[in-house]
């Protein structure tokens, strides 16, 4: 069964360093999501792509976070510079394009980021 791939699975970085996460959605899924999940909380949407276009980045801290999906397939989420409060699990999810209907999102295993 096709799965969403994410790498790395774990990342430890020092404060003020740059860090990047990669996501490869299920083939054919037009919609891609990046979520941040702080320990003990539910996932919170950071950015949503439809193909290569951003459709929602209202919760993305744009002073330090950036996301791209250049060819409408895989995606990269970058943090520069990392702060202690960025320690969290970063989840990627993908879904098919269905008009006007929230459809099932398939999640990857996540990248656990620790900022020291």
């Amino acid at each position: 069964e096709a799965e969403v791939a994410q790498s790395p699975r774990y990342k430890i970085t020092e404060k003020s360093q740059a860090v990047a996460f990669w996501c490869d959605p299920i083939s054919g899924h037009a919609t891609l999501y990046w979520y941040r999940q702080i320990l003990g909380q539910g996932p919170e949407l950071l950015v949503q792509f439809q193909d290569e276009s951003v459709v929602d980045d209202s919760q993305l801290p744009k002073d330090r976070f950036s996301a791209e999906r250049l060819k409408g397939v895989d995606s990269t989420l970058k943090i520069q510079p990392a702060e202690l409060g960025d320690s969290a699990m970063y989840l990627c999810a993908s879904s098919t394009r269905l008009v006007g209907k929230p459809h099932e999102q398939y999640f990857g295993p996540g990248t656990r980021l620790t900022v020291t």
Partner: protein
């Protein structure tokens, strides 16, 4: 804006017994959907069950069923014949018809004991 509230941080159930996880939500949308997702330890989140708000009939998926009370904005998950593999974090989520963005609750950690 949508909000989802899960008031039970942890629940415990004995194997083969039934447990109900609670969820309340608030939304100004008339067209919305509700979901329960399961997140096992160190594994990816998977969809357990979904409910369209316009449907009165409660959704069921094998041992999993929901009690959807639209007027009370309540959406509880019932797990029957609990199994050890059901141990996980369970998240309630809502999504609207005009955008596929999901809003998640804070989760309920379910323990299954022998």
């Amino acid at each position: 804006a949508q909000t989802v509230t899960q008031s039970q941080p942890e629940m415990s159930v004995q194997e083969a017994e039934t447990v109900t996880l609670s969820c309340t939500y608030d939304t100004s949308e008339s067209d919305y959907y509700l979901f329960w997702y399961k997140q096992p330890p160190s594994r990816q989140m998977i969809l357990v069950i979904r409910q369209e708000a316009y449907k009165q009939q409660n959704a069921t998926e094998n041992r999993f069923s929901v009690n959807f009370q639209k007027a009370a904005k309540s959406f509880s998950l019932k797990i029957s014949d609990s199994q050890l593999g059901d141990a996980a974090m369970y998240f309630c989520a809502s999504g609207t018809g005009t955008a596929s963005k999901l809003t998640f609750g804070t989760g309920t950690r379910l323990q299954v004991t022998l």
